[in-house]
Amino acid sequence: MNKSTRSVMTFKNGIYPVYHGKELSEGAATRIAPLLARYTVPVAQNAGKPPEVIVKAGDKVKKYQLIARASGFVSANLHSPVSGEVKGIIEVPGATGVPAQAVEIISDGLDEALPPLPEIDWKQADPKELLDRIAACGLVGMGGASFPTHVKLSPPPEKEIDTLILNGAECEPFLTADHRLMLEDPHAVLAGAAIMSRILGIDRIFIGVEMNKIDAIEVLQEKSASYGVRIVPLKVQYPQGSEKQLINAITGRDVPAGGLPMDARCVVQNIGTAAAAADAVIRGIPLVERIVTVTGPVVKTPGNWKLRIGTPVIEAVRLAEGVTEEPGKLILGGPMMGFSQRSFDVPTAKNTSGILLLSQDQAVNYESGNCIRCGRCVQGCPMHLMPCALAAAIESGRFDIAQQNHVMDCLECGACAYVCPAKRPLVQHHRRAKAEIRRQMQKK
């Protein structure tokens, strides 16, 4: 490790994936995807309560028209990505493996949009007005968790917030969507950051970017001064882009076990969300499209596309001119935390950052062995857990022990399983235990 990287901010533990795969698509400028004939827009695109569908079969909709209304506070609006006719509410394969409800819209080819909402002068506007606009435009966390943005931006009054952190780490291998966004639209990102900080009423704003995106750091640094945003270069380390690790790397604070970022006086947002917030406030358009990286060693021309939500994955792969060989695995999201899919019919959503096709060699079957107690998983765990001990307890059905040892704090980042020389399915064990413990808690 040389001197220059030692001074770069980072968190403790974590891993260093050897193969980044970002070179496949980081040079490809974002292209606008052509209009498709059919979109299947999943209804539940936010964490919390799914919104309530307000269109029915046969309805004519326009682009940006509301098709599902938020059904509570922790819920988000959903807008049509295209103009056309609603064919019905159908069942599509969901990203997590469970079938999901989706609104099927047949495009009329005209792509007529509703007039955008009036621009808000965010430098003078009331924070409440900005927050309402963000809620109306159906913004959710675009990094993966898809938590409604307006909820994150309205912390309970007893929590003191002093820092806003934008997450541009993009620590997952292969993904380059955020990288391209920072390069191509830095003003949207920075304006979004400023809007969010105005809502929160704070002026400490950081954007954390990993050092493998030097060009993005330079572009942002050049323009950041006028927005009052500081750009923080971060070490290339996984999972740098996880909320709690990012807070630790940038502010040195620790989020208490079982706590939320606001317990460390921080709010963390994805940069994609920030850009969407700028779009919502300045251009007055709701969130109906996002940059998606379509990549993988078997994809003919990997790249980044601006896809409308509800684009079936098969269409996105066609945009990338298909595959060179039979793929071994389809993953939505990155290779570390993404969900592997059964079907190419699964539609993209507001939180789909990447479509990854691995080759059959990469999707190898491995045999998992016994724990050899090397402790690499303990070294790798960014939450300072002991994955090996947790897995041993879970394997023998002792979820109580796992709970005592804080399995609920597991991020499921996959660092432990990645470094395990015995190839033990540690994350799967943890997920099982978390599901089981949650079930038991609900019962009580």
């Binding site: 394997e395 023998s396 002792r398």
Partner: protein, 196 residues
């Protein structure tokens, strides 16, 4: 200095369970959970200390006495008397435990009354007798021996709690593996030999 020697000797070097191999029954029986092992340890320490003290007094002043100018030597009664005293003590502990901590009482189950026939307690009493210790020394020896038993039990139960999470071959699971572990633990305690 003498008392330090007594303590080190009773707890580590001549550990009742791991060097003298006395009191193996509760050692294996109640070592499945650390919490019950701690409860059992407390009960054994109490019984051993009290039994050592009382038996020392009886042995010293009751078994050999002079009456009407004639010396009576009743030391052949010692085993009978010791058992009687220990049984009574265990009975008292059992009754009070049932009232004060029914959960522990249930967890200890049959092993609690079995302290009566626990060779470790009787062993402490007879060792005191044959060693010719004073009442204070005998009481301390009993207490330290109890602590030694507790140490062995706590170590062993912690090991067994860990073992429970392992997946050994089926033939080894449970008691066989516990016995192997106990043997290795005993070997480890040989390392203390010669300390005093």
């Amino acid at each position: 200095m003498k008392y330090i020697e007594l303590a080190v000797g009773a707890i580590l070097v001549y550990n009742f369970v791991l060097s003298r191999f006395l009191g193996i029954c509760p050692f294996l029986g109640v070592s499945k959970r650390l919490s019950t092992a701690l409860g059992m340890s407390g009960a054994v320490i109490a019984v051993m200390t009290l039994a050592s003290a009382i038996t020392a007094v009886i042995y010293k002043y009751l078994l050999v006495f002079t009456f009407n100018g004639k010396t009576y030597d009743l030391r052949f009664l010692q085993v009978l008397l010791f058992i009687l005293v220990i049984a009574a003590l265990v009975q008292i502990i059992e009754i009070s435990l049932q009232k004060s901590s029914p959960k522990l009482y249930q967890a200890l189950g049959i092993y609690l009354p079995l302290i009566t026939t626990n060779c470790a307690v009787l062993g402490a009493a007879t060792l005191n007798a044959s060693g010719g210790r004073s009442v204070l020394d005998a009481t301390l020896f009993g207490c330290f021996s109890g602590v030694g038993f507790a140490l062995a039990l706590v170590l062993f139960s912690s090991l067994r709690e860990r073992l429970e999470l392992a997946a050994p071959p089926r033939a080894f699971a449970g008691t066989p593996l516990a016995l192997v572990t106990a043997g290795i633990l005993a070997m480890a305690f040989i390392g203390f030999a010669g300390l005093c």
